[in-house]
Amino acid sequence: MAAWYFNVSLKEIKETVLQGDIKNRFVIWKILLGVLQGSPSDWVSNNLKLREEYNHMKSTLTPSINLKQEGTINNPLSTSTDSPWYTHFKYQEVRRVIRIDVDRTYQKYQIFQDEHNKNLLENILFVWSATHPIGYNQGLNEICAVIMYAVLNDSETEDGLTSWEYIEADCYWIFSKIMELSVEELFVHDAELTKTGPNTLDESACYDRSILRETPEMVRRSHYIFHRILSATDPTLYTHIQKSKYDPQLFFVRWLRCLLSREFTLSQTLLVWDKMFACHNINNRELELLNYICAAMLSADRENLLQTPCADLLEALMNPLVINDISLVLNQAISYFEEQVDKKNSFLNKWSGESGILTNSLKMLYKMVSSKTEYLRKKPKKKEVTLESMLLYVSQSKQMIEEQIKIQCLDRYKIKKTIKKMKYLLEFSGSQEKLN
């Protein structure tokens, strides 16, 4: 009898997750994050391939030391980067640093005191650190530990998708996938930040794509949550905190880097991550719900924060209220997130129907227009600007552009074609005489 997740669509899985606690969490996470790709019938075999790949990676990270080989490079003290001994000691050092953190992770919980589990955690973190330039950073152990907790509290499945024998490989791939969702960039070290872009942003810079492109992820994200989300969801609180001029990175850094695992109990964290993954769209570059939850958490503490004077505000922000009932915060975050998604989808659906050329540009267009609207509405004299009026203006420009394309094409080629073909013609007219 096949498990429930084989027979339902991805959309249904997401809805089930959003409604409450779930069974077979570990497999569901793999599905939601895209670790299990393709159609359900491929999942088991894909999973096996991933496990093999992990084992292969692990074995390449064990330098082969042959005591019988000639000694010029193959000696224990060799500093040559080609020497397996050098690699061995390098890895040993990485493992040592990782182990210090592993030994401190969630020691209140028995499963994390267990030596075997500690070794698993160390191995996963080591393999990831050795294969990614950013290396090991504190906080990675927290994220990985939550994933391990999820599987250890789950049960083995008949299809083998959750299996005690392969915990290490399975956890690795979930971890790796999460890191790819812009979490890795959050760990770029502060020293590098100051060299490659602004280390803080003012409000207007949050709307400027050319600045944002150069900005390190941690900076960009904290400022986005603060200046763009919180200012829209809770303007009073936003204004109050903004007066203190504290850099939002200060209070968001731990929330973002540990994906909120340090702010809740482990069981609460599992529920929070369930929702984050359920709201994740495969095309997104980051876990967007995380941003909304951060804003919602600040709002949850608003009574306390609004009464705190500026001088004490930083401390209050960094030690927020302990939340016992997380459903309120989660629901607030999810509803605001879904509102934004609906706005965007209705725009895209309305405009992408006809011509098909501007699909990616359409998304960019929406981003530009909506951020411009948000920005303008903050100005005292422009409060009446709405998304609709901006879109109307822009669509008029779009129509104007299309008109121009049509005219140029008719002039040059005396033909009427779809916008796509016309654009193509105009761009490549030098190299081709005619187009059928």
Partner: protein
């Protein structure tokens, strides 16, 4: 780590500052903490500073008393077990004639060790007699010796794996490090 068992450093006769200013730069670059687990030092280090430096290199440091190690409470000799091997350590000025294989053989039988590590002659050598091994790591600084002409700086790293021992012999020849290997097994 279990691929090559435990690493042991054999070193001695530094004579700093009496006969040498310092260890060769290239040796100092190689000898960093965290690589070897055991150190056997034949003695005649010459100063507290270098004795402390050795103790910082590894967790298990064994040093025996050399003829110039006055005012110290170092033992004359020591026998330590590593894996299946028993390793004896002595400076060597006590064994007469100095550097004589048979005289050392006597001592080896007394100490009942598989490998006897000794120094004093500053002459790098690895020899065997009756299935037992005698190793002299030479002088790590190339310090002057009345007995041996042309002393080149040297030390040895050993890797033990069960009954097999692999030696990496590091010498400084004409300003460059040369690494040679030797292997033997316990009889």
């Amino acid at each position: 780590m279990s691929q090559f068992g435990e690493l042991v450093l054999l070193i001695g006769d530094l004579h700093i500052p009496q006969r040498a200013v310092d260890l060769p730069e290239k040796f100092k670059e190689l000898l960093v903490p965290g690589k070897v687990q055991h150190i056997f030092c034949t003695g005649n280090i010459g100063s507290r500073e270098y004795s402390d430096w050795l103790k910082g290199l590894a967790s298990n440091v064994n040093i025996t008393r050399g003829d110039f190690d006055e005012g110290t409470t170092l033992p004359e000799s020591k026998v330590v077990s590593i894996g299946d091997w028993k390793i004896g350590l002595i400076h060597g000025h006590q064994v007469i004639p100095w550097g004589d294989k048979e005289a050392l053989g006597n001592l080896q039988r007394q100490l009942d060790c598989d490998i006897l590590v000794s120094g004093h002659t500053h002459a790098l050598s690895i020899e065997s007699l009756d299935g037992k091994y005698f190793i002299n790591p030479g002088s790590a600084t190339g310090a002057y010796s009345a007995i041996t002409a042309e002393v080149k700086p040297s030390f040895i790293i050993m890797a033990f794996q069960g009954n097999e021992a692999t030696l990496f012999i590091y010498e400084l020849i004409d300003g460059n490090i040369s690494v040679n290997k030797a292997q033997f097994s316990k009889s």
